[in-house]
């Protein structure tokens, strides 16, 4: 493997997830986060060498929605920049590659988009193959239900187990000030909610939510000056799979499995279970269980702690839910997770995903110590 640079997450700011911010457009929501992340690091925008963003035109319902974000990211004078039409966790991945390439030491990564501007189920239908799958009206709730059915059929998981998992995440969400769902509830209550699409009940799924996020990466030498407890990136890998729903085993996530293996190998760790905290970008309880199996995690165990923030089940702003996982891992390692902090957390895994049925996955391994000397 090539010699790699030590790079850390040194700042992270997130707008609390809400169903609809009726008073601010996406860039206004983002501006406060850019400002807050820079302030955390004690720097101004001239300290940033590169910037990357993740968003999707279709969420805004207009082309080039990302262009307006340049104004609030501080692109004056111009900055080296790349916009990805992806969840912003992949923008962070690209920013990390830029720092590895050696032409940047610091990077600002943003995720934004107003999910409430449209109907996500109708918008995300357009991600499917236009010739064979989009036209039959599949939406992400339906495809997630297909995946949940496949998982339950293979694993024997029950409706009751999905309800219990969703209830645990709701309890965690009550401790996270940025979560959208902050009212704890019981598995009994959730199991009484009607089907969204069988076997997924409405109570197991996150509501429509929107936010804006900004995360700052810095290479060794600068990271220590920008943050008293940087979260060092020890390994990262990402993989896409075929979209074709009939072309892959929906009860498994081959991409998350491979990305985890590669990221752990880069990090010099044998097992995912060797970390203290895991943040999974799972938008249904079944997805979370599939990811746990793919990554070699005990979904019912107490260590590592899984989704202490509550995860996307208590707030799922599309195109940034993955980057929030990386930000949450940073908060845990930097001692900034406040009410949902995991005591003694020194290593973490952050997972990001996009597409129907966990089509694409990115896995980050972080630690409170540098990986390479």
């Amino acid at each position: 493997m090539a010699s790699l640079r030590n790079v850390a997450v040194v700042g992270f700011a997130q707008a609390p997830i809400v169903a609809r911010d009726a008073h601010r457009i996406a860039t206004e929501m983002l501006y406060g986060q850019v400002r807050a992340a820079l302030d955390q690091c004690g720097v101004e925008r001239d300290a940033i060498d590169f910037q990357a963003a993740g968003s999707a035109d279709y969420l805004d319902g207009r082309p080039f929605g990302f262009v307006a974000a340049l104004d609030v990211m501080g692109s004056w004078p111009a900055k080296p920049d790349l916009h990805l039409e992806m969840d912003a966790s992949f923008a962070a991945y690209y920013a990390w590659l830029r720092i590895q390439a050696g032409d940047s030491d610091t990077a600002l990564v943003c995720g934004y988009g107003k999910t409430s501007e449209g109907e996500p189920d109708r918008v995300l239908n357009l991600q499917l193959d236009p010739y064979y799958q989009a036209a039959i009206g599949l939406d992400p709730t339906s495809t997630a239900a297909l995946q949940a059915s496949a998982w339950m059929a293979r694993s024997g998981a029950t409706d009751r187990q999905l309800a219990a998992l969703a209830a645990r995440r709701r309890a965690a969400g009550a401790r996270n000030a940025d979560a959208q769902l902050r009212e704890p509830t019981t598995a009994d209550e959730l199991a009484k909610t009607p089907w969204a699409v069988e076997p997924l009940r409405q109570g197991y799924l996150p509501p429509v939510g929107e936010s804006a996020v900004c995360l700052i990466l810095a290479a060794e030498g600068k990271a220590e000056k920008m943050c008293d407890r940087p979260a060092w990136i020890r390994g990262v890998d990402q993989r896409i799979e075929l979209q074709t729903l009939g072309g892959r085993d929906l009860s498994r996530s081959a991409g998350a499995k491979l990305a985890t293996e590669r990221a752990l190998a880069m990090a010099g760790l044998a097992r995912a279970a060797d970390v203290d905290v895991v943040e999974l970008c799972a938008t249904t309880p079944a997805e979370e269980l599939i990811l746990c199996e793919a990554m070699g995690l005990d979904a019912a165990g107490s260590r590592p702690a899984i989704n202490p923030s509550g995860g996307p089940l208590v707030g799922n702003p599309v195109m940034m839910a993955g980057l929030i996982r990386l930000g949450e891992a940073f908060r845990q390692l930097a001692g900034r997770a406040d009410g949902h902090g995991v005591a003694g957390a020194r290593r973490a895994i952050a997972h990001g995903a996009q597409g129907h049925c966990l089509q694409q996955n990115v896995v980050w391994v972080l630690g409170d110590e540098r990986r390479w000397t």
Binding site: P77, P80, A101, V123, I240, G255
Partner: protein, 385 residues
């Protein structure tokens, strides 16, 4: 910085471009370019370590993040993939993102793919964004850019025949490019007599709507030394973006373009681009932009760009052949147009541009821009390291 890895273009592939490629699906169109690039590089899908996909707004085809359904056709299953969208510059910034993958040291061979299948949708609608707090007056890209063309003419006293001259030259070049969409010659009169679409931009000075794709294989130095064809060495590359509403921003000659050009020339060790660059493929969607970019890119001083064109220095066989492929004025599959500029620059220094080869081209510039003249992406390629 202590890290400085080289990267090179190993293979170039593009489709036949046309207003409507009804013979292929979106996947088929993309695959046509990918197969040609892999064949050119002497590689198979299994040799590719990562895939970078670019295209302009998803509204152009009506498929959100189409790289997700294209993952199979791209041979990307269980590989790393990113999708880039930087407006009109996207094809170029996609190629540069592939270069970053190689220069990170983690990837040996990366496939960059860019496409647009404009016949699937309505580009005029998709390129007429309704910006917050702004009157919805923009009618397509030409409606947006026409005021800046007028400003250039007013500032530099550029005479009215410069746009038509540029358009005629582009068609002459496109006639020699077997892949170009528009290859029929035009006369100055043809252009002058064509209707004005957005004052002063005439129909004959406007790029077409095309279906097309382009693919490049970018490799590490180690791989490039073993490739079947002579590679194009990427001497430097950069992408810059600037804010939309910054006070003092000049859209006639944007600061982001100047900064990007300086970064690329500095990286390539170029002090005088007019003397040291043999040919350039630059993003000219409306003919007048050729003169504007000659100034913004530092080839000419302010007010001198149109004079270089008036003297014919941009023609094949002259001092600095611009867009020997015919450029965007002959072929505009929007998402792919920037990658075509970079790929054509690479073909020139590889000596494999066919009938539109510039004799003895050793160093070439590829350039693209996008947004409201906000996004710039460029590279300089050479026949030697």
């Amino acid at each position: 910085m202590d890290v400085s890895r080289q990267a090179a273009v190993l293979g170039v592939g593009q489709t036949q471009h046309a207003s409507r490629r009804a013979d292929v699906s979106i996947a088929g169109l993309v695959r046509e370019a990918v197969d040609r690039a892999l064949l050119d590089a002497g590689l198979e899908h299994r040799d590719i370590d990562a895939v970078v996909v670019g295209k302009a707004p998803d509204m152009l085809e009506g498929v959100m993040q189409p790289e997700q359904f294209l993952a199979g056709a791209l041979g990307a299953h269980l590989k790393p993939l990113i999708r880039v969208h930087t407006a009109g510059s996207v094809g170029a910034s996609t190629a540069l993102a592939a270069v970053t993958h190689v220069r990170s040291g983690l990837f040996e061979r990366v496939l960059a793919v860019a496409f647009e299948k404009q016949s699937e949708g309505n580009a005029m609608w998709a390129l007429s964004p309704n910006l917050p707090f702004t009157q919805p007056l923009v009618a397509g890209a030409g409606g947006y850019f026409a005021p800046y063309v007028r400003a250039y003419i007013a500032r530099t006293k550029c005479p009215p025949h410069i746009g038509p001259m540029t358009a005629v030259n582009a068609r002459e070049n496109g006639g020699r490019n077997e892949y170009a969409h528009l290859r029929e010659p035009m006369t100055l009169d043809d252009v002058m007599n064509s209707p004005v679409l957005w004052d002063p931009i005439r129909y004959g000075e406007t790029c077409p709507s095309s279906d097309g794709a382009c693919a490049l294989v970018i490799g590490s130095e180690d791989v490039a030394r073993r490739t079947p064809h002579k590679p194009a060495w990427i001497r430097s590359g950069a992408s810059y973006a600037e804010a939309m509403w910054a006070p003092g921003r000049d859209q006639v000659s944007p600061r982001a373009g100047k900064m990007c050009a300086k970064a690329v020339y500095d990286g390539a060790g170029i002090k005088n681009p007019w003397k040291e660059i043999d040919t350039a493929e630059i993003y000219v969607p409306f003919a007048w932009f050729e003169a504007m970019w000659l100034e913004n890119l530092g080839f000419c001083d302010v007010g001198e760009g149109w004079k270089a064109i008036d003297r014919g220095e941009q023609k094949m066989g002259a001092h600095l052949p611009i867009n020997p492929s015919g450029g965007v004025l002959c072929t505009n599959p929007i998402g792919a147009s920037g990658m075509l500029r970079l790929g054509e620059a690479a073909l020139q220094v590889m000596g494999r541009a066919g009938a539109h080869q510039v004799d003895g081209a050793k160093t070439a510039l590829g350039h693209a821009y996008g947004g409201g003249s906000q996004y710039f992406a460029m590279w300089v390629v050479s026949d030697e390291r």
